[in-house]
Amino acid sequence: MRRIIARILERPLTSYLLLIIILSIMLAPIIFTVFTSFKTREETFRWPPTYFPETPTLEAYREVLFRSPIARHLLNSLIIAIGTTTIVMIGGIFTAFGLSQYKFKGSKTVLLIFIATRIIPPISLLVPFYIIMSFLNLINTYVCLMIVNTFLWYPFAIWMLKSFFDKFPRELIDSAIVDGCTRTSAFLKVVVPVSAIGIASVAIITFLWTWNEFLYGIIFSNTRAIQPVTVGAHYFVGDELVQWDSIAATAIFTALPGIILFSIAQRAIVKGLTEGAVKG
């Protein structure tokens, strides 16, 4: 019995077959969503449900973009994600570089604090952040959301960046300094361009995580002018009725940046995630 199973498992065909089955289960939700977004609203409420749109229409997309606040939410998400990524990267590359190449007494402790920060559940700091932000009168502002997102992703960014800088050959920096560079200009002119791919992958991951963030978004923003799209997507969910076609179109807009960035930079993202988490 076992020999038969082992022989079946060893055939390459079996692997392909199993993969195709698993993949279709993994991809089916995305495909269903794409199809639903092209249906008419009447069709989304039919039973039994249709799989392919019978009369494909762009009505849901028109509704989402022009007759609902989703466009505004998408813009908010973009502003918050770009702002957070900028803060995290500018604050991150110098510190990660310092911790990696110019170790000082206590630099190890600083790194330890950064890993320790990763285990703080964001929900625990919900109330204190709320108290602090109300005190500073920052509730429901972009700045507030950028700050709390920086708290969420900065430690990850430090560890991922550090693991890239750790591999940077020190001789290159030293020879640049011999050639008359200061340490800072050596960093900006030599290290940053050479590690550009690593830095970009960290920026992409930070951008995506901020874009996908939901909890702090729903707590710290309460008007449509500020709320990110993960919060705003609930617009189409009523008490009685859910507008499935519009939800599907919103889902596609919301997932789009992730899917595009992931298709372009998959290799870099995978590298950043594994190095940051395992080494870090």
Binding site: P29, P122, I123, L126, V242, Q266, T274
Partner: protein
């Protein structure tokens, strides 16, 4: 003036110091202090000692939410682990077209959890979703499954929506582990007459243990505290069957506007997660 290298490191680390102090240490201090205060917008703030903690430990809803969280996190982590590992092993075996297969499996990682919740809410919806329809076509059930009115099935649906996003992440870790195993080990095992089941058990599993374990710890830590999927799928219902700890904390803020008990719940959650997270730190430090 000459700045030594180690001083230069300190200067470079200033942004990090600022962020640690302003965004980690200060809020943490606020959290601990507020958890000992009677702190609501309606009353003057006064010191109450352990009253907030007593309130929470005596609250039936807290214990209920803790129980739901353990089920949710355990289920999501288990499903993610199995799914991720199986896909990783299969991906490591194929050669032709492996690039395209890899990209396709990773796709759901890019989908925001909230959106995953919406997508699966539609799929599982008994009135319009395809899941019930598929089961009926296969003659497994005779009428649509009322998933979101059944406590057990609702929890199960949330677990699936959660794992769907996390499986690729787990898969990345398992795959990185598998690829670091030298092929010679498998060749040697084959010469010794081991079949693929034996080499999986005695070579692959022991060697990817560490890598997978880190992925597992991260997944469990994160799913222990997630709320996105539950928010867009069930909102904690039906009858609080998916009422997780994070929802409990949010209710302290939203329904009761009690910062004191909210902070105390936050402190308790912090300690719960730290207990297995310290294990994660230990593993990383051992590597360093």
């Amino acid at each position: 003036m000459i700045i030594t290298n180690s001083k230069y490191g300190v200067i470079l680390s200033i942004p990090g110091f600022i962020i640690i102090v302003a965004l980690v240490i200060f809020p943490l201090a606020t959290l601990f202090i507020a958890s000992f205060l009677r702190y609501t917008p309606m009353h003057p703030v006064t010191f109450t000692g352990l009253k907030n903690y007593k309130y929470i430990f005596g609250d039936r809803l807290f214990w209920l939410s803790l129980q739901k969280t353990v089920i949710y996190a355990g289920g999501a982590t288990g499903l993610t682990f199995c799914g991720g590992l199986i896909i990783a092993v299969l991906l490591s075996k194929i050669t032709r077209g492996s690039g395209i297969f890899r990209s396709l499996t990773m796709f759901s990682w890019a989908v925001p959890l909230v959106i995953s919740g919406f997508i699966w809410r539609w799929i599982f919806n008994p009135n319009v979703g395809v899941f019930s329809d598929l089961l009926m076509r296969l003659r497994l059930v005779s009428e649509p499954l009322p998933i979101f009115s059944n406590p057990v099935l609702a929890m199960f649906a949330c677990i699936i929506a959660d794992s769907w996003v996390r499986i690729p992440f787990m898969c990345i870790f398992a795959l990185a582990g598998i690829e670091s195993i030298p092929q010679e080990l498998y060749d040697a095992a084959r010469v010794d007459g081991a079949d693929c089941i034996a080499s999986f058990r005695h070579i692959t599993l022991p060697l990817i243990k560490n890598m997978v374990f880190i992925g597992l710890l991260i997944t469990s830590m994160i799913s222990f505290r997630t709320i996105d999927v539950i928010f867009s799928m069930t909102g904690g219902g039906p009858a609080r069957s998916t009422y997780v700890l994070s929802l409990y904390v949010i209710e302290q803020l939203w329904l009761r506007t009690n910062y004191g008990t909210g902070s105390a719940a936050g402190v308790i959650m912090l300690f719960l997660i730290s207990s297995f997270a310290s294990f994660y730190m230990y593993l990383i430090l051992k590597k360093e």
